[in-house]
Amino acid sequence: MDNKIFQQFIDLFSYTTLASIIGALTAAWLLLVGIRWAINTLVSYKPKYRIQLSQTYPVIRIIIWFITVSYIVIGIVQPPQSIIYASLGSLGLALGLASQDAIRNLVAGIMMAISPRFKIGDMVRVGEHYGEVISLDLSTTQLHTFDDNVITVPNADILKTAISNSNNGELNEMVAIDLHFPVSIPVAKLKATALSAAKCSYFVYLKKPITATVFPVFERDFYYHLTIKAYVLDVRLEKAMATDVAERIIEALHDKELFAGSAFSGSQDPEPLRIVQG
């Protein structure tokens, strides 16, 4: 019985059928390459809509592959029902046993395409890794970190892990900049100067609010922990903005001579932080 079905299965694949299958797969692949090129071209023309345009590709790819595979099975191969059931059963068993992880990642990839937790262009933290999502494949997701590394994370792991998404589909995102200052600086002046300095940075997206919080911390000595929260114009400029704002705040405090008698002032206090031997 099994031999008969196997023979029927082999008979389905004539040279013409195989050529048609290769043709269909090539056409689908070329179509996807074309769509990818079109999306990239559109992104270069309208960077403002980078995230919205990029997020369409993973969905389009799944749809096109689904249509292609369906067309090959139903339109080209046209197998009888008995072969479909037998093939599906054998294929399922073989694939299930041989590639559990791969199938798990694939299923996770499909689930993520249906209800996405993040999109291409989002800044996400997955476990220890933080970076921009540059690719959402069926089995893996790739992140581009600020160290210029590309991290590949299996989709099954992403489904299991808590994800922090900084911008959630928007180009701007909130950036928190933490700085420590000596307690000799009056708090009100520190906050006001920090807010004004942050507004001076051309990376800051002024349409959204800027906040500053200060609280005292004790670690060997007292100091102020200042957190400036501001939105950056483009997620890719996150580090540039953080550096720019921090430098501007320090420069502004120097200009206002608020560092007198602190570690920042240099020679006036030679021992601002003492290391206590245990």
């Binding site: 960077p47 403002k48 004004s196 507004k199 940075s201 002024l206 349409k207 720019d244």
Partner: protein, 392 residues
């Protein structure tokens, strides 16, 4: 097989050449646009026709502010104020919309009604609280001395009640530590004298947006109105008026073969210039030839503007343009302070943008050179900066 391959290659080459020729022919470089009034062709034009291309208002005939409702808005605010309401209002619009003309039209109406008014025009960037007070004291003709804010508010409320128009509010925009103080001082003066005086301010749109996003200045004004740029039909009407003012007819003698798909090139120009009168005049001039009969001109179908120069700009140059749009103009020193780069680098960036035909260099108030966006291409540049996410 070889023949087919050869034919395909030929076809591809032909198509490619076709596209290339099309793009080369149908675009006008940015620097060409910005040299509009220096071209030999313009200078050789008939005197009457040249006046049609004058980039300012030609008297009452084609006032830059066509929409009467903008003047009506200011007059209605004036009416509210006369009825005792605490009113202050702001008008804003794109560069070249005609805000100053609108204020002049409004003050002309006030003159007819014998209403006292003061027209103030900011001419330099205000740097501190004292600078704001001193500048306004000078503009309002007060005694030249250093007043405190409280003293100044008392004094301004002792002046006879009047309408105070304030133009060039973009001078409040700055990316400095004292920007908040400057805006707060002006806001305090306006709020403290609101109702007693009627304050009307005019500001370029990008500067207004920056002041609202960064410093919430919109809360100071009870009434705000965006002055819209010319619509397509208004622009067409204005162009026809311009040519008839110079004693020329345009489309009456237009040869039918110059019309593409039966469309009138002037309609196309009115649509393409997106409300910018300078750009529409450029399109007309660049596609102009004398008609068959005397005192007639023929406008050929207009060509697209080539923005390749903008596409080649670095991120810092794009941000520089965005800041210039918001500030109105920037000097090398101001640019150096905003971007925290050396003076040499700042000068290099600004000069590069000037050579590309995007910026104009004029002498600023302090004697240093000030770089501003060329009015004729400002709409094109602003749209590009917004699409590149450099401006919002």
């Amino acid at each position: 097989m070889l023949n087919l391959k050869q034919r395909l290659a030929d076809l591809w080459l032909k198509a490619k050449q076709g596209w290339l020729t099309e793009t080369e022919d149908s675009s006008v470089a940015l620097d060409q646009v910005s040299r509009f009034y220096q071209s030999d062709f313009y200078l050789s034009l008939d005197k009457g026709l040249r006046s049609a291309f004058y980039d300012g208002p030609l008297g009452g005939l084609d006032s830059r502010v066509i929409e009467r409702q903008d003047v009506d808005f200011l007059l209605s605010c004036h009416g509210y104020w006369q009825n005792g309401r605490n009113v202050s209002c702001a008008i804003f619009g794109e560069k070249g919309t005609g805000l100053s003309t609108l204020l002049n039209m409004f003050t002309a109406k006030l003159k007819q009604q014998d209403q006292a008014f003061k027209s103030l025009i900011l001419e330099k960037r205000l740097c501190s609280e004292q600078d704001v007070i001193n500048s306004f004291a000078k503009l309002l003709g007060m005694e030249n001395k250093d007043y405190t804010l409280d003293e100044f508010i008392i004094l301004i409320n002792q002046l006879p009640p009047c309408v105070i128009t304030l133009d060039n509010l973009h001078f409040l925009v700055q990316r400095t530590l004292d920007a908040q103080v400057v805006v707060d001082t002006l806001s305090a003066i306006i709020l403290a004298s609101r109702g007693y005086h009627l304050w009307i301010v005019a500001c370029e749109e990008q500067a207004w947006r920056r002041l609202c996003y960064g410093y919430q200045i919109e809360h100071v004004f009870s009434h705000q109105q965006q002055v819209a740029n010319f619509s397509e039909s208004q622009m067409l009407e204005l162009l026809l008026k311009r040519f008839s003012y110079g004693g020329f007819r345009t489309i009456n003698d237009m040869p039918i073969e110059t019309l593409v798909d039966g469309k009138c090139p002037l309609n196309d120009i009115a649509k393409r210039c997106k409300g910018c009168i300078e750009l529409s005049l450029f399109y007309c001039l660049n596609n102009l030839s004398y008609g068959i009969t005397e005192k007639s001109v023929c406008i050929m179908p207009a060509e697209e503007i080539d923005v390749t120069a903008l596409k080649s700009l670095s991120q810092l140059e794009l941000f520089s343009l965005a800041e210039i749009c918001a500030h109105g103009h920037l000097s090398v020193k101001e640019h150096h302070k905003i971007f925290r780069i050396s003076l040499g680098e700042s000068k290099m960036i600004l000069e590069h943008l000037r050579v590309l035909g995007i910026l104009d260099k004029n002498e600023g108030v302090s004697g240093s050179d000030a770089y501003s966006l060329k009015l004729i291409i400002s709409a094109v540049v602003i749209r590009y900066l917004i699409s590149m996410n450099s401006l919002y």
